[in-house]
């Protein structure tokens, strides 16, 4: 056994020097001990085939710059053993390495730790040269972590390795990667649980499956080779991708059971797959062109902001969510058995020839039909707050696919198109909002129980079609068209009201209001088209707002147009905006020219001065503001008219034909 000590064994010496063409170990067991406390560079080649132990025992640094071909074993128990000085030199032979301190690689060329050179121990591996260091040994288990400050640290022998090669690993410690970490396998599958940080890049070259299970924050580029799969997570709540961009020529797969957000910009020709049971949110501006596959959980594009996209086609067998606050277009094709959900306040245009069958949920914003098959060929369409917007390329009747579950907020923007729905909508508590120019025609006998709102364009009924039972809100400018309805009279159920500002149209058609009629939007106008009759004879009440004593146009609710009216029920008049002078037929609230019939059973007014009340003229459609009689006159009138009239003191008929009667002049105390 021969021992060569650099520095005294066990001492605190600095190194000496060796001047020799080589150091050979040619018989028995040899030890080359580096005990020094300072930096020592061993330039000599080291040869030999016997059992040789390199031992870094001192606190200093040993730099090996010679060619080491010996079958040595290496123990690093102190200080640093460094291979190379930054040039194309240095090697560590081919034996196993127990590293309990620091093993540094500083070469400008390639250094490989072969199958029999597993690095074990508690120490740190440092890649500091500009070259590539390759870890091939299968049982590399060093636990002190890895620092990559320069060059490339490659794990695995790469595509030239044996098939199903599983060798090469990083040890178990954290990795600070400020250069390049490259996994290079061939048909191998392995999991990297290290936490990878730093500014460096992560690459894959070869083939296989690499699973990142650590909490990674590295900020450099991630590169995935064409037959490589990079999987994030093991199906649980671990594994992250780092923060940098991804150049994907292979497959990027997400496999977590919880919510995970990937803000990376993903480019390349590769694929992306969601296989975990959790939700993966893509926030990057992604341009990868390969197929996106959703086999489990949720893949969400955007998170309510203005970022997040995908470009290629999607096979969706689970759930695909789009969630952005701005306008975006997805032109790829969505196939599969999964569901699509639209979230976020923006407009999403689906422009692909989609065939997904799992249904569509519109929870927020606008889902624009940018193609004939935008929402797939089948599957329930659910409304949770968003709007389905038609286009010239798609006016399909989707009513048969609309959900009948409770509280559906059916919302349609016809967007200049004419659309007919044949199937009735049935949703307890459901509502229908129609917006945009163009007409939506309801041919079915709808039974949803919420309000129907026309925010724009025309809502028409055809045949025996009806709106739901929750009343009609004309919105501001909406048109309700009964032209194509079979029956001459269509009645709004007593469970709903007719409110808002808009137009009622349909020649020889009558709309009977069984609930309340409240024209205007405080204030506003309802236009009754020629040939159309608005029948209030069975209405529970009619309410008009008058907001300006000067009666300037637009300051009071109004019914106009060329249609006709049937009055009935209670008329409520709400005055505001100042003092109103007494006058007769001071304001015509019903200015429609098609004629009047019937009368209101009572007129209530609020907002007038003490001693004033309002009357209505059913012949002219106008109201009058009149003074209340004196107390004396009231007493006389009361005596003259009898007690039965006292029972009606809050109901005053106003027909001019009754002028002079007790009803006409009963001192109605203003109902304010």
């Amino acid at each position: 056994m021969g021992v060569l000590n650099i520095g005294s064994y066990g001492g605190n010496d600095s190194a000496g020097s060796i001047v020799a063409p080589q150091i050979g170990f040619n018989g028995g067991t040899g030890y080359l001990n580096f005990n020094q406390t300072d930096t020592f560079t061993l330039t000599n080649p080291i040869t030999g085939v016997n059992t040789i132990f390199f031992q870094q025992l001192g606190s200093g640094t040993t730099i090996l710059t010679g060619a080491n071909s010996s079958a040595n074993r290496t123990l690093i128990s102190n200080g640093t053993l460094q291979i190379g000085d930054g040039g194309a030199n240095g090697s560590i032979g081919n034996g196993a390495i127990t590293n309990n301190s620091v093993l540094a690689i500083n070469s400008s060329t390639n250094i490989s730790f072969a199958n029999n050179q597993a690095i074990t121990g508690t120490g740190v591996l440092v890649q500091m040269g500009t070259g590539t260091t390759t870890l091939v040994a299968n049982n590399t288990t060093y636990s002190g972590g890895t620092l990559i400050s320069n060059g490339t640290l490659r794990v695995g022998a790469g595509p030239t390795g044996p098939q199903f090669d599983t060798n090469g690993s990083l040890g178990t410690g954290n990795v600070t990667n400020n250069a390049t970490l490259l996994f290079s396998r061939r048909f191998a599958s392995d999991t990297v649980s290290n936490n990878i940080s730093g500014t460096g890049a992560l690459g894959m070259f070869g083939s296989g499956l690499l699973t990142l299970a650590g909490s990674n924050s590295y900020s450099g580029l991630t590169t995935i080779d064409s037959v490589y799969t990079l999987q994030i997570g093991t199906g649980s709540t671990n594994g992250t991708l780092g923060t940098g961009s991804v150049s994907n020529a292979g497959t990027l797969s997400f496999n977590r059971s919880d919510l995970y957000t990937a803000s990376n910009a993903i480019s390349g020709t590769g694929k992306l797959s969601q296989i975990g049971t959790g939700t993966t949110i893509l926030l990057g501006s992604n341009s990868y062109s390969g197929l996106t596959t959703v086999t489990n959980g949720v893949l969400q594009i955007g998170n309510g902001g203005t970022t997040g996209s995908i470009a290629g086609d999607v096979v969706n067998n689970a759930t695909l969510i789009f969630n952005r606050s701005d306008a975006s277009t997805y032109s790829g094709t969505i196939n599969g058995t999964g569901a699509v959900t639209k979230q976020g306040g923006g407009t999403l245009t689906l422009a692909g020839a989609n065939s997904y069958s799992g249904g569509t949920t519109i929870s927020d914003g606008v889902l624009a039909l940018g193609s004939a098959n935008a929402v797939g060929a089948s599957g329930t369409i659910r409304f949770g707050g968003g709007t389905l917007q038609y286009s010239a390329s798609n006016t399909t009747d989707y009513s048969s696919r609309f959900s009948t579950a409770a509280s559906q907020a059916y919302s349609i923007d016809t967007n200049g198109q004419n659309v007919t729905w044949a199937s009735p909508l049935a949703s307890s508590g459901g509502t229908l909002t129609k917006s945009g120019t163009g007409a939506l025609t309801l041919a079915g006998a709808n039974s949803y129980s919420g309000v129907t709102t026309i925010s724009g364009g025309t809502l028409a009924l055809s045949g025996a079609g009806s709106i739901g039972t929750g009343g009609l809100n004309l919105g501001s400018g909406g048109v309700f068209d009964l032209t194509a309805r079979t029956s001459g009279t269509y009645s709004l159920p007593s469970t709903g009201d007719l409110i808002g500002s808009g137009k009622l149209t349909g020649n020889r058609r009558t709309l009977a209001v069984l609930g309340a009629f409240q024209p205007g939007n405080s204030p506003g106008t309802v236009t009754v088209d020629a040939g159309f009759m608005l029948d209030l004879s069975r209405a529970t009440s009619t309410t008009f707002d008058i907001t300006d004593p000067r009666f300037t146009a637009g300051t009071y609710d109004l019914v106009n147009g060329n249609g006709s009216m049937i009055f009935g029920g209670i008329l409520n008049l709400t005055f505001s905006g100042g003092s109103y002078d007494n006058d007769t037929d001071v304001l015509q609230l019903f200015a429609n020219t098609g004629g009047f019939s019937g009368d209101f059973t009572s007129v209530f007014s609020t907002g007038l001065a003490e001693g004033q009340f309002a009357t209505f003229n059913a012949t002219t459609g106008a109201i009058s503001v009149v003074p209340a009689p004196s107390t004396y006159a009231v007493a006389l009138a009361g005596l003259a008219c009898g007690g039965w009239q006292m029972m009606r003191r809050r109901r005053l008929r106003q027909a001019p034909t009754l002028a002079g009667t007790c009803d006409q002049h009963f001192p109605e105390p203003a109902v304010r």
Binding site: M1, L4, S14, A15, V19, A20, P21
Partner: protein
């Protein structure tokens, strides 16, 4: 100045008990000096060269298998032990013997051998201190049969100029 000149300097053979020979200085070269033995059938012998140049044809520490704990010291700047044309054998056959070159001492020879024979073990050479040099025109062999140790520390230098090096 004390001059000691031997055809063969054999420490231990002359003084089988504990012996210390201090070679304070020597003429250079000594044409009649042949082999330097430190321990030749004896143990616990120390030979120290502290100045000047001394020349032998060979240097053998522990010539027999029973020789142990013998020491050759070469120290101080300007102290040169020249072995020509032979080798420096540190623990030729015995155990626990050593050569210490320190404080600028200089030893030269053809080959340096530590623990040569089958019976040799635990022999060592220490070259320590700035300027301390063990210079071999051919090679240094450590533990040829038994165990041997070469330590180079504190700026000391070992030179093995032959193709096989150490």
């Amino acid at each position: 100045m004390i001059r000691i000149s031997f055809k063969t300097l054999s420490v231990g053979a002359l003084l089988p008990a504990l012996a210390v020979i201090l070679v304070l200085s020597a003429p250079s070269p000594h044409a009649d000096a042949q082999i330097l033995y430190v321990g030749n059938g004896s143990s616990n012998q120390t030979t120290s060269f502290t100045s000047g140049t001394t020349t032998y044809t060979s240097a053998v520490i522990a010539n027999t298998s029973t020789d142990s704990n013998n020491t050759l010291n070469v120290l101080n700047p300007g102290t040169r032990l020249t072995i020509n044309p032979g080798n420096v054998q540190v623990g030729f056959a015995g155990s626990g013997n050593s050569m210490v070159i320190s404080n600028g001492g200089f030893v030269s020879g053809s080959n340096g051998v530590i623990s040569f024979g089958n019976t040799a073990s635990n022999n060592s050479a220490l070259v320590t201190g700035t300027g301390s040099t063990w210079s071999n025109s051919n090679q240094v062999r450590i533990g040829v049969s038994g165990s041997g140790t070469l330590t180079v520390a504190n700026g000391g230098s070992v030179i093995a100029s032959g193709a096989t090096g150490i």
